[in-house]
Each structure stands twice: as structure tokens, then as C-alpha cells.
């Protein structure tokens, strides 16, 4: 079953086309790697898929629901880890996660479990504003997977993380490390500036340039020259 079906997805900011004519299909449990220079439309793509932005043209189906008409059906099944951690700086990680757990109807025990999983138990009761960027990123990962989303949208998830932190979050964002999922991987859309690290885990690669798809191929068919062309 296709988790994502995009047919001519277009999104504009005023007159500027931020995302134009993106078409692809991604099966459940697969990973879409999105590459492209700054301003290529990667974040816009994630926000449309997260139901936070409306598509201006084209057809978009996420987890079987058509956007934006049926957006309410998929909210709660999507996790978003963007540039902003979506955490209140004056609250502690524990308070932030309890808040999000309640909004998603998830038991508060789960909040503690994901905090443990990202290694933030010791600092869980200090305000987020006092944490380092790497620690905030770990808490943001915990928030994004708190409700065990079917679709996980990731914008450079390893940003600000040291190698140990990056290793720690990997099973969480893959989903297969979560026994509650029965070993099923999550469907993921992963925006990255590190294709060398992320190509191996991808099932499909989308390259964006100026908001337009410049590359769409399985990772085995993507070579260094094609990637370099994207960033030229």
C-alpha cells in the first residue's frame, strides 16, 4: 500500500513557487530521501505532508487520506522533526512531553520511556532553555516519535548531535527498534545534506532544485555526479 502519493504537488508563497510539480509514490515502511540545496523546497514539502501547509495544486494522499480535505484523519499519525524543536523553552523536557502525550492521547508513561530512550532522563526536569542544542534535538526526537507515528517527517534529524547522540536516535527514527511496532519500520521522509550517510537507508531519492524535482530514482541509480549537479 502506498503511504505517500503525490501527483503534481505545487505550493507557492505569493508569486514564488516553493514546490512545483512534485510527483512520486512511496510504499508503507519505505524511506524517501530528499536532497537539495538550501531553499530547494525540502522544508515546504515536509510541512505540506505534515498538513501544516495546504497544497495549491496537484493531488496529495498521505496514509490513504487526501490532503487538505481529509487532513484531520491523518493528524496524530504523523511525526514531524523540523528545524524547530516544537518545545516550550520555559518548560522541562518531561513537562513538554507530558503535554504532547496528552494531546495525542498517549499514556504519560510513554513520555518517560522515550525520554529514557534518547538518554535525557537525567536532565528531564531542567528547563529546555538551559539544555545544549544537541540535548534539545534529542528531546525533539522523543517528541516526534512519542505517539508512535506511522509517517515520520525528518528535517536533518542528526543536526547538532554528536556521534553518540546520532547513534542513540537512529533506532527511534527507523521505528524498527520499537517493540510496540512489531519490528515494522516507519514510513519516513528524510531531508538531508549528508547523502553519503543516508543513501544506504533510502528506498527512493528525490532531488529538489528551485522547488522543482531534478532527480527521482532509487538510491542504486543515484551517483555522485547526479548529487553534485543538484548542489551546483
Amino acid at each position: 500500500m502506498a503511504a505517500l502519493e503525490l501527483d503534481g504537488l505545487t505550493r507557492r508563497y505569493g508569486e514564488r513557487v516553493a514546490l512545483g510539480e512534485v510527483s512520486l509514490s512511496l510504499d508503507t515502511g519505505q524511506t524517501l530521501l530528499v536532497l537539495g540545496p538550501n531553499g530547494a523546497g525540502k522544508t515546504t514539502l515536509l510541512r505540506v505532508l505534515a498538513t501544516l501547509l495546504r497544497p495549491h495544486a496537484g493531488a496529495v494522499r498521505v496514509l490513504g487520506s487526501s490532503l487538505p480535505a481529509d487532513a484531520w484523519q491523518v493528524r496524530g499519525q504523523i511525526g514531524l522533526l523540523g528545524h524547530e524543536p516544537l518545545l516550550y523553552r520555559e518548560l522541562t523536557p518531561a513537562e513538554n512531553l507530558r503535554y504532547h502525550a496528552r494531546l495525542h492521547g498517549v499514556g504519560e508513561q510513554r513520555a518517560q520511556e522515550v525520554l529514557d530512550a534518547v538518554g535525557m532522563t537525567r536532565r528531564a526536569r531542567e528547563p529546555v532553555r538551559t539544555l545544549s542544542r544537541g540535548m534539545v534535538q534529542r528531546v525533539a526526537v522523543a517528541r516526534a516519535v512519542l505517539h508512535d507515528p506511522e509517517l515520520l517527517l525528518l528535517d536533518e534529524p542528526r543536526a547538532n548531535l554528536d556521534p553518540a547522540g546520532a547513534e542513540l536516535i537512529e533506532p527511534l527514527i527507523q521505528g524498527a527498534g520499537d517493540p510496540a511496532r512489531g519490528g515494522r519500520p516507519r514510513t519516513r521522509v528524510l531531508c538531508s545534506h549528508d547523502p553519503a550517510a543516508d543513501l544506504a537507508g533510502a528506498d527512493l531519492v528525490l532531488g529538489l532544485r528551485g522547488g522543482r524535482p531534478a532527480l527521482l530514482a532509487p538510491p542504486g541509480e543515484v551517483d555522485g555526479r547526479a548529487i553534485a549537479e543538484l548542489y551546483r
Partner: protein
Amino acid sequence: MSAATGHLPRVADERDDRPAGPRPPGFVATVATVLRKELLLELRTLESVPGMALFAVTVFVVFHFALNRNGVNGDEAAGILWVTLLLAALLGINRLFVADAEDGGFDGYLLAPVSRGALLFAKALALLLYLVVLELVAVPAFALLLLEPSLGPALPDLPLILLLGDVGVALVGTLVAALAVQTRARDLLGPLLALPLLVPVVIGGARASAPLLVLAHASGPQPRWPIALGLYDLLFGLIAYAVFDFLLED
């Protein structure tokens, strides 16, 4: 083990019993969740209520010296009280959504499978509580610094009239704050939008309060003014609920 490897332990039993994942919280539970977070943030930062209360008391002090009289009563007293409370309320209205805008709270909320209207009611309830606390400080200060008659005879009715006005201010203020916070000129736009919309509250509140603040207090407020305030609350409650979704959505 889990902390070392990043693998998650099993999800809590209460979730496992559900056939199809987590059950989204209902309207009331969502309102309670957001309200709890709002109050926690205010207790942690003290960014709204102390500023509102300090502003109101400062204005009363300024009036006390500027008027150079023993005190005010009747229409004057009611006007000064309501205008000061309204201006103090604007400080709270301007800050109502700032943490959400700056920390991504809007996006976090919109990603959850909950009613958008619950956010409106939770925020309005938070603002209502801030206004009540403001008045617990400001009204005694007003009585001490400016009011000529004793506050005692007005007490059974005045708090009710203030509460009716507060509901209107909270509803309209929440709506305006949600709109203004998404603009760069939010500090200007909030008051510019809120003041004209809240003029009926000031008129109704002042007219209803004036008979309670006279020297020879004999009667309560004319019923039409509290009724007008109640109708205003009902009307703007319905309007706010109807349009709030559109303010949050893209």
C-alpha cells in the same frame, strides 16, 4: 538497555489494549491540557499577570495625583476603573500566544488529533483567570487610591459585572491575539484590533458599575447593562468559535 541503545521499551499497557492506536483526547480533556500548560508557563515566567497588575496600580497612582481630589465616584469612577482594566488586559492579550509563536507551539498543537476550538477555549480561560487575578489586585488598589465611597456596598454586584466583562475581553482578546501574533507588527496590531471591538464591554461595564460606585449607594445596576454584556459574550463566543479554525490553518 533502552537508554544505551535507543531502543524503546514496550508502550504502556493502557495503549496496548486499544485496537487501533492512541485514542485522541476529547474537547474538555484538550482544554484542560492546554490550560494546565498555560498556567504552568505563566507561573514559571510571570510574564503576564504581574505586569498587568503593576500597570493597573500604576495608572491608579497617576490618576490619584493627576486629579488632585479626595476621590471619584459614579460615572467617573466606573470609567476610570474599566478603561484602566481594559488597558491592563491588552498587556495580557499581547502576550497570550507569544510562547506558542516563538517556540513552535502552534505547529505542535496542529499536529495533534485535537479540536482547534479547544485551543481557543483554553486560551480564553487562561486569559479570564489572568483578568480575575488582575482585578483581585487592581480593584482594592482602585478603592484605596481613587474611590470616594466605600467599596463594601458594591461588592455583591461589582464582581459579577466585572466577570461578565472579563468573559467578553477574554474571548475577543484571544481571537485578536491569535490573529496579531502571526504578524510582525503584533504589538501594534493587537491593541488596534482589540480596542474598537472591546468598546462595548467598556460602555456596558461602566454603565452597569456606575450606580454601584456612588456615595449614596441605593440600588443595583439597571438590568439592561448586565444583559447587554451577557449578549456580547454570547455573540463573540459564537463568532470566535466559528472563525478560530481559519486563523490557525494555513
